[in-house]
Amino acid sequence: MSITAPTPPAAGHAWTISRSDRTTRAASAGLVVLGLLLFAVPFGFRTNVVQQLTSLFILLILAVMWNALAGYGGMVSVGQQAFIGFGAYTTIFLTQHGVTTYLAVALAPVASGVLAVALAPLVLRLRGGQFAVGTWVVAEALALLVALDKGLGGGTGASLRGLSGIEPDLRRAFTYWLTLAFMLSLLVAVVVLLRHRTGIALQAIRDDEDAAASLGVRTAPLKFGLYVLAGIGCGAAGALTLANSLFIQPQSIFGVQWTAYMLFMVLVGGLGTFEGPVIGAVLYFALQNQFAEQGAWYLIGLGAIAVAFALFLPRGLWSLASDRLNLRLLPVGYNLLHRTGRSAGSSAQAPDGGTSSRGESTS
């Protein structure tokens, strides 16, 4: 219905837009192979390695989900523990009502997604700081409701039953495979989202919601979808945490410390990048394993690292690789290439970049 494009005087076909190059193709293939190889870990490694990796994958799910919310959708949630706890307690509830344990673990994320659908009309009308506080309040309210429910063990916590018949090594392997499957599915879901045009729309909403709307992006359904996806992912993390540790308490599974972990992993790794949260999760996991016995000093150290990153490397570790080396592992970006094969405006050969970096103010 709109008029045709203004054709530039010298419109040639000198430029093409490409999304993948040799690096992304090689890296993507490598990651797929790595993902598949990880399924074999329980056959070759001791049980504690399997259990440790399960913990790492759960952290990775959390980092990727929080990054999807805050880094792509601009929704800085302080209340994703609502879904972590809900996923875990849904698993308890389902097993109490005769559902097989692993089926319950697989169903709990679905229930968390339903919870997100129900909460969305309430919390998504909030923006910025209000949204952060609102999501936290919801999480605390859920924790209180669970703590008051005697059937779910009240404040003292609840154990996951129905696994005593399975030999411990096999149980840990099952939990590992299920966690790995969830992690890979959620990673693939995020890649698919970023490959689709939805990816740029979400980032646009994150950077400036009004400007996104003025360019034709309907913000509400996209934020809704992302919120539900993060609900499902965090619900899965909660159910899998329970399957990995077999016991939970409402105060810890609904605790705000989960948000602190997610924030740390995503900010240190690189907010709003695909690779950043993965790096952040691995780094956090390593720190936790090395220094957790130090108690208070460990927490102080984590805090200091987070502050240092916020001050000196606000875009996280991955920005070092992506800025300096122009490196990208997955084909989720867009690259304008000249016919000659050179990339437009990549740091070295920006034709007139920087010549006009005058004052930023407008009249």
């Binding site: 219905m1 709109s2 008029i3 045709t4 494009a5 203004p6 054709t7 530039p8 010298a10 419109a11 430029w15 093409t16 837009i17 045009r197 740029i200 729309a201 980032q203 646009a204 994150r206 950077d207 400036d208 009004d210 400007a211 996104a212 709307a213 003025s214 360019l215 034709g216 992006v217 309907r218 913000t219 709003g272 970006g333 867009y334 690259n335 304008l336 990339s343 437009a344 405006g345 990549s346 920006a350 034709p351 007139d352 970049g353 920087g354 010549t355 006009s356 970096s357 005058r358 004052g359 930023e360 103010s361 407008t362 009249s363």
Partner: protein, 255 residues
Amino acid sequence: MSTVPTGTAAGTVRAPTVLAGRGLSKRFGDLQVLTEVDFSVGAGEAVGIVGPNGAGKTTLLNVLSGSQRPSAGRIEFNDQDITGLRPELRCRRGIGRAFQVPKPFTGMTVLENVLVGASYGAGLGRQAAYRRCVEVLETCGLAGLANRRADSLGLLHRKRLELARSLATAPQVLLLDEIGGGLTDAEADELVATIKLVSEQGTSIVWIEHIVHVLIQVVDRLVCMDAGRVIADGPPGTVLSDAVVVDAYLGRAGS
């Protein structure tokens, strides 16, 4: 789209109206920002809006683009009432908007910024959106910077990006808010040339600008606002020599 008489002086046949505001009023609490403003732009017409600071120019643009609701009055686009339509749907119908203070998506590249407009505002499929982006980037002189993050751009390039993004939405009417503000004369001239090109290809333009000599290079008609009202509306020469306009605006601005 259609050929339009340049300089719609009194007596000549006006092109069909594309976008019109009828009796638009807007108040914020006790502050009356717009008072029964009638405004229209024809197909392919370029209209400039001038007036002192606080005259209600930007508010008028906000109300037309949908980022603010009028307190009273109606907005019509191609003879359809769009008063209650959300900004994203107005954009998809063909009302493009460039903000006074550029609002680039700072975490995205220049190309991705423009692609948002082409994919959503213009509703193009992937390959068509790519082609549109390349065209718009070349038109606006940004092709060489396409892969740079938008937060690395200086003011001139931010202004160009603001224009490029709204052009990518394939607007039938383009609303521009002080796109030349803060630029040197040479830089402003480049932007004017681009906007002139867009205008000549049939896109209607509504353009707020303080730099009147820049504005009159492009516009067919000039609207002068003061204190929330339209005080003059006509060919640029007539409006600029109007005693009321001189008193309200040009006299004080001293240009």
